[in-house]
Amino acid sequence: MAQTRTATKAHGGGHGMIGASTRVRGRITGDGDLTVDGHVEGDITVRGDLIVGEGASVTSNVDAHSVTVSGTLDGDVTARGAVRIAAGAKVRGTMQGEHVAIEEGAEFAGRLDCEFELPPELMGSTSSRKRS
């Protein structure tokens, strides 16, 4: 569910909403938060948080502060904050974020790309036979 939205904050923008019966084909940009309960095909760029609700389907590359997906998302996500993929969500694409959480019960196929360093013990280790 879409309850983790951090309350309206200093993005300046308001809160956009694409209702369940609404279909958007085209690019969406905004300064505030956006909740999608309908269908979007086209890239989404918002300064605030994006919520893809249960039942929503989004075919977009997404750029937002944080992203929470409970519906279907097909596209690459770039977030400065957290990405959360809830149980029941179906997501494919590359997720980039401060951290990316996937709840058990979510369907996911794609890359996760978090910035971090492995402990030194695993750096430059002999086993670069990672991929078989």
């Binding site: 690459d76 590359t94 971090f116 695993l122």
Partner: protein
């Protein structure tokens, strides 16, 4: 010293294993393992645990660091504090907030083939696996190609003619209908259909 026979194997905090670990038992790694791990039991990489190679178990829980692919026959749980550089695969996967991953992740139901919205995006994702991921710009460039495909799938829908109807028709019907759509969108249709049929 312990004499009771546990069928649990522990690689202690101060232990370092250089080599393969195989077998059927529950395995708890708190030390460092540099070598492939293949067990049919449950496998835990504890907070202090480090694995510098591929690992595979029935249910896998990671709280430590792994540089290698993580495969769970049943599930993989990456807990807060986990650091994984490698691919993660299992029917069920949970990644807690605070777990960090760089790699490809795939759960069940997410489709074996990984078709994407556009051919460009598709090409990029496949290419991204080993390399860095920068699909965004390419994907949006190819977006217009989507439109003609949607038309091909309209006939079955009474109401809104949207791409979403194609979800239910699948690849074959779309391909037969009307003038052959360009290859790129056709791929997209088939792909979406295949995804939808899974449910």
């Amino acid at each position: 010293m312990a004499t009771s026979s546990h069928d649990v194997t522990v690689i202690g905090r101060g232990a370092r294993v250089r080599g393969r670990i195989t077998g059927s038992a529950t395995l708890d790694i708190q030390g460092l393992v540099d070598g492939e791990i293949l067990v049919d039991g449950d496998l835990t990489v504890g907070e202090t645990g480090m694995v510098a190679s591929d690992l595979s178990g029935r249910r896998v829980v990671v709280r430590g660091a792994v540089k290698g692919n993580v495969t769970g026959e049943e599930s993989v749980h990456l807990e807060d504090g986990a650091k994984v550089v490698g691919d993660v695969r299992a029917p069920r996967i949970a990644i807690a907030p605070g777990a960090l991953v760089r790699g490809f992740v795939q759960t069940a139901g997410a489709g074996a083939a990984r078709p994407r919205t556009t051919a460009a995006a598709k090409a990029t994702t496949t290419a991204t696996r080993p390399a860095a991921a920068h699909a965004a710009s390419t994907a949006s460039a190819a977006k217009p190609a989507v439109v003609p495909a949607a038309r091909g799938s309209v006939p079955r829908g009474a109401t809104l003619a949207g791409t979403n109807h194609a979800n239910h028709t699948g690849a074959a019907p779309v391909a037969k209908k009307g003038p052959p759509p360009p290859i790129v969108p056709a791929l997209k249709k088939g792909a979406k259909g295949a995804l939808a049929k899974k449910r």
